[in-house]
């Protein structure tokens, strides 16, 4: 048992370091991808489509072409705070009994693909929270009490619990059934 456990811990540690390297190394290009996907998603529900999401390093800068920018400047979302759960997902899959088995690799691919959608949804929640709560009279005119409460809570839920919970849930759903970790 001790041998099994140390093997799981070793594989998990390797997965963690690999996840950390990939996450750190791909943050900037992934932020660009996230900006494009989120902009398409937000604009597809807008009439007229006015939202612009501009990647800047690890930041996602949010603009509306119909609202004048305030002296405080642009609203920005830090993408690393949203995406670091990739490290958790990689570690959990790497700690699996047969890490490079087809089922584990395909399971990881499926979970990672869904995690991208989770990240897009998380960025949308930050953008909508900004629209619902931070644009003064414009926010009050376009968002009701329920919508303001919902969008106010959604990004906070993601930051406090969802960012961890979704990674764990995706691993649980996509891991091979006989996984040891």
């Amino acid at each position: 048992m001790r041998k099994d456990l140390s093997r799981v811990v070793l594989k998990g540690a390797i997965g963690f370091l690999a996840g950390l390297a990939i996450w750190g190394g791909l943050t900037v290009p992934y932020t660009r991808l996230l900006a494009s996907l989120t902009e398409v998603a937000v604009r597809s529900f807008e009439r007229p489509a006015v939202t612009r999401i501009i990647p800047d390093g690890s930041l996602l800068l949010v603009d509306r072409t119909d609202v004048r920018r305030t002296a405080r400047g642009r609203f920005a979302v830090e993408s690393t705070d949203i995406t670091f759960n990739l490290i958790v997902l990689m570690t959990l899959f790497a700690a699996s009994r047969r890490a490079f088995s087809d089922r584990n690799v395909f399971g990881f691919a499926g979970a990672a693909a869904l995690l991208v959608l989770v990240h897009v949804a998380a960025v949308i929640s930050f953008v909508k929270a900004y629209y619902a709560l931070s644009l003064g009279a414009w926010s009050a005119a376009h968002y009701g009490v329920v919508a303001r409460s919902f969008w106010g809570a959604a990004p906070y839920f993601y930051s406090v619990a969802g960012v961890y919970g979704f990674a764990f849930a995706l691993w649980w759903l996509f891991r091979p059934m006989n996984a040891s970790a």
């Binding site: 963690f16 490290i87 570690t91 959990l92 406090v160 619990a161 919970g165 759903l173």
Partner: protein, 172 residues
């Protein structure tokens, strides 16, 4: 066919887990709970961290949830106080079929372990902010947030594997 039932059970577990997580989040976000539990608890975490750092001869001052060293200050909030990992652990243990006794025992042991790990996290971040500021953000977000949650997940897996007593099911 053979994996149909475990997949369904996995789906039910995940649905219960996420529902419990939402409930814990809502409870934690309520103003009275935040003011009378989360904030005092965070102040306790900060005081314990200050005690730990002072024992290593670090010059540390505390004001509420903020911990100061001569060249760095850290405001400990939800997300850095271990409450998030406690929520994930509690939601997973609640979603997993087990007796109340083993859930309570697992939760007490798990919460204690999470807080010990979190103490090391906050202390190391203060030290890092003071001495190696350029590594702070990377270690804060990438390393420690992942490690604390992986510790919580590992505790849940170990508990579910070794200690969770299955409730007796009635036959009908």
């Amino acid at each position: 066919m053979g994996t149909e039932r475990p997949r369904k059970a996995g789906g039910i577990f995940v649905a219960r887990f996420l529902a419990a997580l939402v409930v814990f989040y809502v409870i934690g976000a309520l103003e009275p709970v935040n003011d009378h539990f989360v904030v005092p608890f965070t102040q306790l975490v900060v005081a314990a961290t200050a005690f730990l750092l002072r024992s290593f001869h670090q010059q540390i001052a505390v004001a509420g949830t903020i911990i100061y060293s001569p060249r760095f200050a850290l405001d400990v909030r939800t997300g850095c106080n271990g409450v998030e990992a406690m929520m994930v652990l509690a939601a997973a243990m609640l979603a997993f079929p087990a007796t109340l006794r083993s859930r309570v025992a697992g939760l007490l042991a798990g919460v204690t372990a999470i807080q010990i790990i979190n103490l090391v996290r906050v202390a190391s971040l203060v030290w890092l902010g003071e001495h190696h500021r350029r590594f702070f953000d990377f270690v804060h977000v990438g390393v420690w947030q992942s490690l604390v949650i992986l510790a919580a997940v590992s505790m849940f897996l170990f508990w579910s594997w070794k200690f969770a007593e299955r409730p007796v099911q009635s036959r009908s």
